[in-house]
Subunit: 129 residues, 2 copies
């Protein structure tokens, strides 16, 4: 008999958890990542709370300060990440489930790395004067 501890995923979060499962399989098979915008789904507050409870918390917790504060945390399922964008008042603006080896937001982008090379070269030239 299912215990009450597993009751969280019996609501409308269930189809979404199935979608996440398929996305994980795609990630493993082909490296394809999936981004699910929770705000674009007919998901009530209770459904969202159930989903988050079912996903749980994993090992990685990050904050990203790029155009407003965002948080990225790995769920208890490796490869399933929760990305939350907030405004300066801390209100949630958007929330995404990202199924990926690493969320886009945590990666340095090549154009930014190119800028960093130039900035570091400049800093070093300046320091050597």
């Amino acid at each position: 008999m299912p215990s009450t501890a597993t009751g969280a995923e019996h609501g409308n979060a269930l189809p979404l958890l199935n979608e996440i499962r398929h996305a994980l399989e795609r990630l493993l098979a082909s490296g394809e990542t999936t981004v699910i915008d929770l705000g674009a789904l007919p998901l009530g507050q209770q459904d969202e709370a159930e989903l988050l409870a079912a996903l749980g918390a994993g090992e990685v917790e990050a904050t990203v300060n790029a155009g407003g504060p965002s948080s990225v945390r790995e769920t208890s399922f490796h490869g399933v990440w929760l990305v939350t964008h907030r405004n300066e008042q801390g209100e949630v603006l958007a929330r995404f489930v990202e199924v990926a080896f690493v969320p886009e937001l945590l990666m340095s982008q090549p154009e930014d790395v190119a800028d960093a090379v130039a900035a570091l070269a400049k800093k070093l030239a300046f320091g050597q004067n």
Copy 2:
């Protein structure tokens, strides 16, 4: 005349900053990542402080709780990350500069993702009973 604000990189941190610059160039050219173990270098406390000051703080700050607490933060140079492992008392055990689009520690590993698929499938099967 260099201002005092740029004085930080005049010490023994300078060769290391040059190495980081070359590592960034390799990253851009070939995707090759570089890990520099600061504990393995003849780097005094003052040198390390100068290095960290020169690198500065970037947009991403993360904690990873996998076999002891670790912190990962992007420096002000995109693609240059500082990874610090601590013990339960908060003492620094090891510190690395990682030049990569994303540090290894922030990525979900394929074998863990495979475990996650199995765990989620099991959870869903259980929830549907």
